[in-house]
Amino acid sequence: MSEVNGIVVTAKPRVSARFRLQWEEAQQSWVLLYPEGMVKLNASAGEIMKRCDGSHSVDELVAELEQAFDTRGLHADVARFLDMARAQHWIEV
């Protein structure tokens, strides 16, 4: 089974129970909320995180992003981000 930076491509990441992901109109961005704190996500991080819903595999997530933004070759970037997100406990894989 192929792996990039430690996360299996068939794994279905979901936002960790420790955080709540939501769109903030006032900030025009996705944010992660946690006890008395907030992480403001940049646009690409938001696009990835909102697809971490436990139903998209990493491969599906990448395919959807490549289609949505009409581009290719996002796999390595997405994998790098997910690896960081897991280290930060933002997602569970």
């Binding site: 420790r18 939501q22 109109e25 006032a26 900030q27 909320l33 946690y34 006890p35 008395e36 907030m38």
Partner: protein, 389 residues
């Protein structure tokens, strides 16, 4: 030549943080309480409808974190209604509580209302000291409440205000937090405002006490690893640069006090010559962007030397306006914690006094515990000293 570049006015971001101080009523009598010493003058609390409106207006203005605090917020029986509305609006809802009044039934109702998180405050980990410092018998109750919080699946932040009288028990406090299943532990040294300022000499730890506490905290971090995240906050009196108070005046924090006064921080009401709006009279958006009180210390036009020309002014924004007022007598002065401040000696003198040997509590000057009787006495003394001027 090109026209000189226009420096754009810094944009004011939304009030991301709403601190809803829904009541000053509290069953505890902590000697380090940050509520104003004249809290007993507040008799007309906002009602439920007022608070629901404040929540809606603040959310519309971009607030996203909402902390229900006090006093003891559980002293209000409409807390569940407010939490439910805040959660429905999309706030991340935090309850800052001493745990008194958090029965299983109320915990279940708060869970159903969608409460996201509870921060439980402990005064200390040893029963006698805990009861002494909070002036009530609450220690056993807090252990029960911690279990209730865990049973409801809330993340738990324990908060323990640290000071001269409990800092030498820091290992017990940390071990107890781990035992109770806290994910985060805030060991925040008392900050010297309000009641804590009255009791400063009794509460400010010595340098040796702080160094020991930091060493032990680091050892415990090693020991417990990922089980718990421990934050240790040194008293700013031991620093040489001030804290960036509230991340800058009117930058992210909006406090609404029990009577509806809107403040840029929970102690700002002490500052003379400033008028702060009330949510009964003005909408949150107007309060945040347009009111005199919230604009007073934005930008740097208000700064004096040594702040005005200081290369670090954006790092700390001159420190805390309340501390500048309390210790230097001028809310627009540099925070005297800064060693560039002409009033820095006031801080140094307090620190110097704190180096005396640590003695049993009974041998120190008596603490003034937060309570309505002392609050009324302090209001009366304040009136008399004004009349005498």
């Amino acid at each position: 030549m090109n026209a000189p570049a226009q420096v754009p006015a810094p944009t004011i971001g939304p009030p991301l943080w709403l601190l809803a101080e829904i009541t000053y009523r509290c069953p505890l009598h902590c000697a380090f309480c940050y509520n104003p010493t004249d809290f007993a003058a507040t008799t007309d609390e906002l009602d439920t409808e007022d608070w629901l409106r404040v929540l809606r207006e603040a959310r519309a203005a971009g607030s996203v974190q909402c902390a229900f605090s006090g006093g003891e917020p559980l002293a209000r029986d409409d807390l569940e209604v407010l939490v439910a509305e805040a959660r429905r609006l999309g706030f991340y809802t935090n309850l800052l509580t001493s745990g008194v009044g958090l029965t299983e039934a109320r915990a279940a109702a708060l869970k159903a209302a969608g409460l996201d998180h509870i921060q439980l405050s402990f005064q200390d980990s040893t029963r006698e000291l805990n009861d002494f410092l909070s002036h009530t018998r609450t220690f056993d109750l807090k252990q029960r409440v911690a279990a209730t919080i865990k049973a409801n699946g809330w993340p738990m932040v324990m908060n323990c205000v640290i000071h001269r009288l409990n800092i030498d028990y820091i290992e017990n406090i940390i071990d107890m937090a781990v035992e109770l299943g806290a994910e985060y532990l805030e060991l925040a040294n008392s900050q010297y405002y309000s009641w804590a300022l009255l009791n400063r000499d009794q509460l400010l730890p010595s340098r040796e006490q702080i160094e020991r506490a930091e060493r032990i905290t680091n050892e415990r971090r090693q020991r417990y690893g990922d089980r718990i995240r421990i934050f240790f906050v040194v008293p700013d009196y031991y620093e040489t640069r001030p804290k960036k108070c509230m991340n800058g005046w009117g930058s992210v924090f909006l406090t609404v006090t029990p009577d509806g006064t809107a403040l840029p921080c929970h102690t700002a009401k002490m500052l003379p010559g400033l008028s702060f709006p009330n949510v009964r009279d003005m909408g949150v958006r107007e309060i945040w962007y347009d009111s005199e009180g919230f604009n007073r210390f934005r930008g740097d036009d208000w700064m004096q030397e040594p702040c005005r020309s200081c290369p670090e002014k954006e790092m700390d924004r001159g420190g805390c306006r309340c501390q500048a007022f309390m210790l230097a007598g001028d809310a627009a002065a540099a925070d005297p914690v800064c060693d560039k401040s002409s009033a820095h000696h006031v801080v140094l003198e307090a620190v110097e006094r704190a180096q005396r040997p640590v003695r049993p509590v009974a041998k120190e000057a008596p603490l003034i515990f937060r309570g309505p009787a002392d609050s009324r006495r302090l209001i009366e003394e304040g009136r008399k000293s004004l009349a005498a001027d």
